[in-house]
């Protein structure tokens, strides 16, 4: 049973901050097509955390976060350098940094685990994250770093927007694009390291991509997208932390990721306008419409040669020149009162149907002359 005690509130604040910051910066990462950079950065952070610990024997959150940030940043710069100076493509460069840095992290981690200090236990929570280990000190550090990150994002909002949308144009207006690139990438690095303790290096990339990918589906406005992304991140952080606090042995990182993934699925399928389901339905309605129109106009065109516009025709003839299943289309048209079938498999237009067919034909001819 959950009780909202002090520790839990601290934990909830921590996960809220992490979700908010990674969501907001993730929106930019997504639009800059740096989604997978998040994966590389978060893995690359591990050796940074370990080295700082080995040097200082301290688990002070600020030190560890800075170590993570520096390592993540070096990883990012390396990816950029590899892409820029060799023919190795970005995907491979990201994979190299991700796996090699993480490998180094593991080497350090195993060395640390053999160290005699009692303090060492706990660094391995950085693999899958554990929100329950968040202390007030950690959350304060996260809050300060998060506030700075979001503050800079707001300050440079206009510049980042322009840079992300149209680099060449930004440069032609005189904005120093490489410096802005470095700045926003640094902010992304910070948004990642803030979450490492709760979500873990393995899954933190999802907190960069998923909230933004969901938010993109709901809006066509950048400011709304960034806010929504922050909200989705925060909500999944809080729900994930609550669940993992309530159910024993439920790891925080994976739980948060499952929550945000569900938000992604719902957004992709059902978001208004962009939802895949609505898209498919529109497509289907459109196809149905075309089919209905073809059927009606065919009935009329057949009939006019017979001089009686309401003359019934055999379904076989309609099937032969129509598209798709004719029987189903005729049944649907009958429901709308546009056709009747006086006897089995014989179909004729009603007065309303004839009017509709004339309209469609007039439209088609009018439309054609437009092009």
């Amino acid at each position: 049973m959950l009780s909202f005690d002090y520790t839990l509130i601290v934990v909830l604040f921590g996960t809220l901050i992490l979700g908010l910051v990674s969501g907001c910066l993730g929106a930019f990462a997504l639009l800059r097509r740096q989604s997978l950079l998040g994966d590389a950065i978060s893995h690359a952070a591990l050796p940074g955390i370990c080295i700082v610990f080995m040097l200082t024997y301290s688990k002070h959150p600020l030190l560890l976060l800075l170590g993570a940030a520096v390592a993540g940043w070096i990883g990012t710069i390396t990816v950029m350098a590899v892409v820029r100076h060799t023919s190795v493509k970005e995907d491979a460069a990201l994979g190299i940094i991700l796996s090699v840095f993480f490998g180094m992290g593991l080497v350090f981690l195993t060395i640390i685990q053999r160290m005699p200090t009692a303090q060492q236990s706990g660094l391995s929570t950085y693999l899958f994250g554990s929100a329950s280990t968040l202390l007030l000190n950690d959350v304060i550090t996260m809050a300060v770093l998060g506030a700075i990150t979001l503050g800079i994002l707001l300050l440079f909002w206009k510049e980042f927007k322009l840079l992300t949308f149209d680099r060449d144009y930004a440069q032609s207006l005189g904005f120093p694009i490489s410096r802005l690139d470095i700045l926003i990438t640094t902010l992304i690095v910070f948004s990642i390291v803030i979450g490492l303790q709760s979500v873990g290096v393995v899954l933190m990339s999802a907190m960069i991509i998923a909230p933004a990918a969901s938010a993109r589906q709901w809006t066509d406005k950048l400011s709304v997208m960034v806010c929504l992304s922050g909200v989705f991140g925060a909500v999944s952080g809080v729900i994930g932390a609550l669940l993992s606090g309530a159910i024993s042995k439920l790891p925080t990182g994976p739980t948060i990721v499952v929550v945000i993934s569900i938000i992604v699925i719902v957004s992709l399928l059902f978001a208004p306008l962009r939802g895949i389901v609505w898209g498919a339905m529109r497509q289907r309605r459109y196809r149905d419409n075309i089919r209905f129109q073809t059927m009606l106009t065919n009935l009329m065109l057949f009939s006019e040669s017979d001089t009686d516009p309401f003359y019934p025709h055999d379904i076989a003839a309609l099937t032969a020149i129509g598209r798709g299943p004719a029987r189903k289309a005729m049944a649907d048209l009958k429901e709308k009162g546009l056709v009747v079938n006086p006897e089995a498999d014989m179909w004729a237009l009603t007065a309303a149907g004839l009017k509709e067919a004339r309209c469609i034909l007039a439209d088609k001819i009018g439309g054609a002359s437009h092009d």
Binding site: K158, K161, F165, Y169, Q171, G174
Partner: protein, 248 residues
């Protein structure tokens, strides 16, 4: 005002000994170009002639191997607010969450400088520019839901709100229907009549004399510069296009 000063004032763009190379391959070789103020000029040449590269080098987007560029007699850096730019179509992510008005407002960012947000006035200017290109009704449209011609007009409007003295446009007629093409040409001519200098990468030789006063014919090296009728000669075209001239 001394004659020298007024002279440099009448030259809108001056390019001297501009040479550009991607790695060892020279793309622009020793280009000298002086464009007087108030002309509507086409940059013409076959595909891969280096037209885009030339514009980008003038705008400081690429660093030349040698040579210099001056705008109204001063280095580009100090003059960039007099320069408007319409990049080659398709260089942006069309799925970006932004609408037409928003894109046009970006044209004000250079004037705003750091940190300042666009004001109501900037938005009004942007709406105005959209109106001038006949796109006022589409201000709220997400940009991917515009046709190619409409997108091009939005980017033109973005350059218009820059309120520049010199405009550079890279193939503004690509993927544009005939009506839009005429609209855009009309706007360019208006700009010229206001005393602005307009430089357009163009590759349709048929419409050259109808649309433009001046032409700069090039293929890696410069071939001719001057009024269209003087530039477009058999000999020059042969030099630019080799045997595969488009119209003669």
């Amino acid at each position: 005002m001394t004659p020298i000063e007024s002279d440099s004032q009448d030259i809108a763009v001056s390019v001297k000994d501009l040479t550009m190379a991607y790695r060892e391959k020279p793309v622009l070789w020793d280009i000298d170009m002086e464009v007087p103020r108030g002309v509507l000029m086409a940059i013409v040449g076959p595909n891969g002639a280096g037209k885009t590269t030339l514009i980008k080098a003038i705008l400081g987007l690429l660093k030349p191997a040698a040579g210099k560029v001056e705008i109204f007699g001063k280095p580009f850096e100090s003059q960039r607010y007099y320069v408007g730019y319409v990049p080659q179509c398709g260089s942006v992510d069309w799925d970006f969450p932004t609408n037409a008005l928003d894109v046009v407002t970006m044209g004000r960012y250079g004037h705003l400088g750091w940190f300042k947000r666009p004001s109501k006035m900037d938005r009004d200017l942007a709406l105005d520019a959209l109106d001038r290109v006949g796109m006022a009704d589409f201000a709220d449209r997400q940009i991917s839901q515009l046709s190619g011609g409409q997108q091009q007009r939005v980017f033109l409007a973005r350059a218009l709100v820059q309120d520049a003295m010199i405009y550079f446009m890279d193939e503004p007629f690509v993927g544009v229907d005939a009506v839009t093409e005429k609209t855009i040409v009309g706007i360019l001519k208006t700009l010229r009549d206001q005393g602005k200098t307009v430089i357009v990468v163009h590759h349709d030789l048929q419409t050259l004399s109808e649309y433009f006063d001046w032409a700069f014919l090039m293929n890696v090296r410069q071939i001719a510069l001057g009024p269209v009728s003087e530039v477009i000669t058999q000999e020059n075209l042969k030099a630019a296009y080799g045997g595969r001239s488009a119209i003669f």
